[in-house]
């Protein structure tokens, strides 16, 4: 290397030194990256371990111990499909989720369309009531329904019907939020054009609004499913006995007791159903809104979640 080149290198370094010696203060702060990934690991690793334990060969629920599917199918007495109490919990959870989906979605869609356009007396309080379940602590909500079904509506009483009603009630507000978000995106133009061209109101709803709302409807159906299958407090308060036990209730009851990985297997299956519903919801939503201008579909789904802690 010639002296001149070395000198040139030195001056270049000198010229840059003031700017880079402390690092660029406007660059991406490394510690933020660190905190975020540590947080993500912390938030997901315990659950991943719980899933891994479901595939254990041995009976330990606290450590990894070989590979097998026996806690799902194999063991004739203690696996999810061998132990009737675990199997019943799974079928009951799926039944409630199905009922909630089929009732909450149409009710929520109609409520959302109505609230979005209705500007009369009573629309203000109705708006508040439609959103209030999102922020009401689930315990307050569940105590209310429990007392309702044991006093005024004791003819219905506690049990599957009461549980389904409870799930519909809290998930309907989520449908309202999703569908109204979509109504805002669609805007009133198409609908007004149809009305101006002489379409009666019902035809506008049936032939214009509903097809445009299809992605929100698909997303609603599957999110109600996920909310219902994950619910614990309302299910527990409105349960009437062993046959109305759901998966989260079973996990809650046995988490600190009888330690077998079949409980992990049950939790894994429930998680699998929830995630399947979400992947489907996301896929359908993306497919149906393809070609539309939007931020990111992920973030649209994310914005749905600004509801309560369930």
């Amino acid at each position: 290397m010639s002296a001149a080149a070395a000198e040139q290198g030195a001056t270049a370094a000198a010229a840059e030194r003031p700017r880079f010696s402390l690092g660029n203060p406007w660059s991406k702060p490394r510690w933020l990256t660190g905190i975020t990934w540590v947080y993500i690991l912390w938030s997901l690793l315990p659950v991943l371990l719980a899933i891994r334990v479901a595939f254990n060969e041995g009976r330990s629920r606290t450590s990894i111990d070989g590979w097998s599917l026996k806690w799902f199918f194999g063991d004739s007495n203690f696996s999810v499909f061998g132990d009737p109490t675990l199997q019943d919990a799974l079928t009951h959870s799926l039944l409630l989720a199905g009922l909630a989906m089929l009732i909450a979605t149409p009710l929520g869609i109609m409520l959302a369309i109505g609230l979005q356009r209705w500007r009369g007396r009573g629309s203000g309080p109705s708006n508040v009531v439609a959103l209030l379940p999102l922020v009401t602590p689930e315990l307050v909500f569940a105590v209310g329904l429990f007392l309702l079904f044991t006093t005024l509506l004791s003819t219905i009483g506690l049990g599957t019907t009461a549980q389904a009603i409870g799930h519909v009630t809290f998930s309907m507000s989520f449908v309202v939020v999703i569908v109204r978000g979509r109504l805002v995106t669609i805007g009133p133009d198409v609908e007004e054009a149809a009305a101006d061209l002489g379409a009666p109101p019902l035809a506008v709803i049936w032939r214009i609004l509903l097809p445009l709302l299809a992605p929100a409807i698909a997303a609603s159906l599957l999110i109600v499913f996920a909310l219902s299958i994950d619910d614990f407090v309302v299910s527990q308060y409105l349960a009437s006995g062993a046959e109305t036990t759901t998966v989260p209730m079973r996990i809650y009851a046995q988490a600190r007791g009888a330690p077998l990985p079949s409980l992990n297997a049950l939790a894994t299956l429930m998680l699998l159903f929830t995630l399947l519903a979400l992947v489907l919801a996301y896929g359908v939503f993306r497919f149906m809104t393809r070609g539309e201008k939007r931020g990111s579909a992920i973030e649209q789904i994310a914005s749905i979640d600004s509801g309560g802690g369930r």
Partner: protein, 303 residues
């Protein structure tokens, strides 16, 4: 049918449903709490406001004020919630900030991973920790290998070495763990809405990064922080299952446990309802505050 009326008619079934199973259900809490009991200690609700009996409500109020039987539980609930939301803020803010402004090409993945805990049942996430923190669990072993348990013991935060044996600190950490995803997401949305040009303007006008953070970004994200904290504090106030799973000891019980014990456990359903009324009255302010910010946000998006 007029065009105006049809919208009200569409909303009617849903409103009727919510009217019965949400509004009337809450009215049932009031009627039971302000009602009486029969000779079998079963609640007799007083549906007519003119016949309300304030006896149990008075008893409930006396039990939650200083000197009352439930006063320690109230204090503990407030401390646990305060500690847990401070934890959520300290963990959640940097994460939401990174995800919204610095994640770059990883942004999609980071957002998906931040949303994921939402959709894992809360009970399952707590259950995962009961496996980890059992005396022979991986979590206990790691904490013991890093001497974190002895550190916490010497600070007086941990009694013995069993993390699941009625430790307040475990309940607080579990609450933070359980609810921090619900704090991050709305905060992420609100940080994401801050215009990058505002930050660039601060920088061009000579503000070093710390002061552009303290004087521009933080004030602009204040509504998001407050809304997020309210959103996680509300369900914590009615939480009883975290405590049961992570401790189970009466020495760490929260107000949610008190209500749950009264309503599901013993003969004191009326007193439980009266405490539920008090809890709701306190929380209503926060609930309406959150709904107002939510609607303002929706209004801003629609505009």
């Amino acid at each position: 049918m007029t065009r105006r009326r049809i919208w009200g008619l569409l909303a009617a079934p849903g409103m009727a449903w919510l009217g019965l199973f949400f509004v009337v259900a809450f009215y049932a809490v009031i009627s039971v709490g302000l009602g009486n009991v029969n000779s079998l200690y079963q609640p007799v609700p007083h549906w007519n406001p003119l016949t309300w009996n304030v006896g149990y409500l008075t008893e409930a109020i006396q039990s939650v004020i200083p000197g009352g039987q439930n006063w320690p539980v109230v204090v503990r609930t407030v401390i646990y919630i305060a500690a847990a939301i401070i934890g959520a803020l300290l963990i959640g803010y940097p994460v939401a900030y990174y995800a919204s402004r610095h994640a770059g090409r990883w942004r999609g993945l980071v957002v998906v991973l931040l949303i994921l805990p939402f959709w894992i049942s809360y009970i399952m996430r707590m259950f995962a920790w009961t496996n980890l923190l059992a005396p022979d669990g991986y979590g206990s072993k790691i904490l013991s290998a890093l001497s974190i348990d002895s550190l916490f013991s010497s600070l007086g935060l941990l009694d013995g070495t069993d993390w699941l044996g009625g430790q307040g600190i475990t309940v607080i950490i579990a609450l933070t763990y359980g609810y921090v995803p619900f704090f991050i997401l709305p905060l992420f949305a609100s940080l994401d809405r801050i215009d990058q040009r505002v930050i660039e303007a601060a920088r061009d006008l000579g503000a070093p990064p710390p002061s552009s953070f303290w004087r521009v970004i933080l004030p602009m994200s204040k509504p998001g922080i407050l809304a997020g904290l309210v959103l996680v504090a509300l369900p914590m106030a009615g939480d009883y299952y975290t405590q049961t799973l992570m401790s189970g000891s009466p020495s760490t019980s929260m107000i949610g446990n008190t209500i749950n014990n009264y309503i599901q456990g013993g003969p004191d359903k009326v007193l439980g309802s009266a405490i539920t009324i008090l809890l709701s009255a306190v929380l209503l302010v926060f609930m309406l505050y959150y709904l107002r910010t939510l609607r303002r946000q929706q209004g801003a998006e629609a505009a």
